[in-house]
Symmetry: C2
Subunit: 432 residues, 2 copies
């Protein structure tokens, strides 16, 4: 059987999983590629570090030139995280004629245009299935399987750490910091989970998908985003009372322009997205021909991510990636096909919660402020205060009808300034 020589650069969790699949299941990749994917070199920082993978003698090196100078190696799984030296190494590998497979979404979100331009100039390809939604093959599904469609809507749970934390808070009544510690204990959150819980990670993935599905041109940092790091268990309780669950959703919605944002959202129970638990990811895509297609799977973890990397290695070895890469609408030289909606104009229903004095006339003040901004009310929850006495503060929960984002923000700013309001109001979007 013919052989494609492969190298791995970076032997962390995912790299170890990829090596295992290549070394232990050569029969499988041989069957699906019609050729052997032969792991010829593994480049690491420190060859003496103890490792989980049982690598054959002579594979491990700390010298990248053993890959770049070896013309027999044609495909490289570049699995170093972060921006540098990942970016420089990727460029070196491209210059030396290698096709690349990567799982590094942060690198693509930051330096995608440079890397893709360089790959195209050099006639090379970059495959990146593992960079979004781990084991869910969403890149191939959008870039290839649904290519007869104009995608009109894309809603994703793209950050498994956030979904795990919110699930813990919802199911076990944990508060945010307890849930984060549990996620860290179980390996679902890093020691510093900031990029996960503040919505940045989901925005990076959404940026990649928005390029691919809509021909958008947007830097992830320009996508409006709110994370789950301010989420109060009280809101999970009220959401449940109203028939919703809270999920960190990444949304791309095409009308005349493209709306992009990441935010905690009340999703009506029974909708597939509402039922995504633990560290799972999910993506709901609407195409104008196919209708709604829903994907659900593990968005991270060693073997789900390795599954995506090895599928890309097979696609690259077989020659499919080269054909697909040419026409991908991702950091291409073409002009953007859509412009982005001004975030203030994006319509939505809102869930609002205020802590207010338990006085006569308070509800009138608040509904008056909503009225100033043409926001009408769909329902209200106000429970009686738990104890008698003066200076009581009660929560007031309001579900609105559809209104623009800007009006929602202006109304809540006005309400926060009222004397009867005791702390900053909470505002979240609602998906019915």
């Amino acid at each position: 059987m013919e052989r494609t020589n492969v190298a791995i650069v970076g032997m962390g969790t995912v790299g170890t999983g990829v090596a295992q699949l290549l070394l232990d299941h050569g029969d499988r990749t041989g069957r699906h590629a019609g050729r052997t994917l032969w792991l010829k070199r593994v480049v690491v920082n420190d060859v003496n570090k103890p490792r989980d993978a049982d690598l054959p003698e002579g594979l491990l090196t700390d010298d990248l030139t053993t890959v770049t100078d070896d013309p027999e190696i044609t495909v490289v799984a570049q699995l170093i995280g972060g921006l540098e030296p990942a970016r420089s190494i990727m460029l070196q590998l491209l210059e030396s004629g290698k096709d690349i497979v990567t799982a590094n979404k942060a690198l693509l979100a930051e330096h995608g245009p440079e890397l893709f331009d360089r790959a195209r100039e050099l006639g090379r390809s970059i495959a990146f299935e593992a960079s979004v939604a781990g084991g869910i093959p969403i890149i191939t599904n959008i870039g290839q399987c649904l290519s007869a469609n104009q995608i009109t809507s894309l809603r994703g749970i793209l950050n498994g750490t956030s979904n795990f934390i919110v699930s813990q808070m919802e199911e076990y009544g944990a508060d945010y910091s307890e849930a984060v510690r549990e996620a860290q204990r179980l390996g679902f959150a890093e020691a510093d989970p900031a990029m996960d819980v503040d919505g940045s990670d989901a925005a990076q993935k959404l940026a990649i998908l928005a390029h691919l599905a809509f021909g958008a041109r947007v830097h992830w940092s320009d996508i409006p985003r709110v994370g789950i790091d301010q989420l109060d268990p009280a809101d999970l309780g009220y959401a449940k009372e109203l028939g919703y669950r809270i999920k960190l959703l990444a949304i791309a919605q095409l009308n005349d322009c493209l709306e992009l944002h990441v935010s905690p959202t009340l999703v009506r129970m029974g909708r597939p997205l509402a039922e995504v638990r633990e560290a799972y990811n999910a993506v709901s895509v609407v195409g104008d021909a196919v209708g709604r297609v829903f994907f659900h799977g593990l968005g991270a973890g060693q073997m789900p991510t390795a599954s995506a990397v090895v599928a890309d290695l097979i696609d690259t070895a077989v020659g499919r990636t080269k054909l697909t890469f040419r026409t991908l609408e991702l950091w291409s030289q073409r002009e953007a096909r859509v412009s982005l909606t001004d975030h203030a104009d994006v319509p939505g229903r809102f869930y609002l919660r205020f802590s207010v004095d338990h006085h006569p006339g308070v509800l009138a003040h608040i509904t008056g402020a909503l009225g100033h901004h043409d926001i009408s009310i769909a329902s209200v929850i106000q429970h009686e205060p738990s104890q008698d006495g003066d200076n009581q503060v009660v929560p007031l929960v309001i579900m609105t009808h559809t209104a623009p984002e800007g009006a929602g923000q202006a109304a809540i700013d006005e309400i926060d300034a009222l004397d009867c309001v005791r702390q900053k109001g909470v505002r979240m979007r609602v998906l019915d």
Copy 2:
């Protein structure tokens, strides 16, 4: 832009949808293929029949040789249903050097080995994404995206007609024949829905997936199957009382051997497969690296199916299909990688319902018969008879622990022969 000339043979519902996508959305296919997919010829039986599609002058013909003799046409969407003349036309098209895209699952299930052999001999390809699960790209996901995995389990709701009928029975309390009429009225069932409701259609699709995912060699008619055509609304009610919904599941489960069958199954509520409603399809796949991935979408209908056909046309025009087709484990010359489990040995929990005399000792007779076959009982529902009097017949519902299929059948045969049992017992599998 370079051009790939395409023909459509067969202008039914799906053909019309494919023509619409090619004619109205050339920009889209051009963008994703990097070349124009130019519809050059449409072959039909009767050129004078009124049609929904607004075809340009000169496209329509009843002469297949205008395609087979035209070397400019390289890809043909063969969209004639049934076995003949579809088979002969497909062979003619292959002989004349065309690559084929088809949605005809019955033809593949029956004549797949012959057609695939011939295509390989001639260096041509057959793409068939639309043949299973309509708009869900399950063929590409299994054949390409999950190729780093050994698939270990595949469970599908693959027949939208059956799922629609059972949903109607469940949600509106319709009986079977009412639900069939409603499905026919809405276009979800054909005038003669026999192949849909008796499990044959699902078995044909399961056979294709089992070849693809497991390297099995099996003719669809050898897959044990039970349809929904005998389903009694009473069982939907008891299932609900027990916390389950009934779904027509197509199952492939790999242990030492491969278990394949199609049958109405009690699926625990809350599982994604239990929540698939109306005419939707869904597939839940487990791979040893990726874990469980779940796909949900429209399994039939004009535009979802056309979406799959046009994606295949793009893949074929671009050259991806040719690369994939070479290594597909579908009717290849390779030996089967798995043998099939003897159906009698397949383990499962059972839901059983009997109509029995309301006499002392009846439960003892029935549990005794189960005991003879080593089947232990997990739970029992027996309600009081609705009226007093002699000769009362009451339903007895039993959920068992896991037992082999053969023991389940033998026990129910023994119970059916008891004097206290008034009509043939009902037995369905349970998925927890």
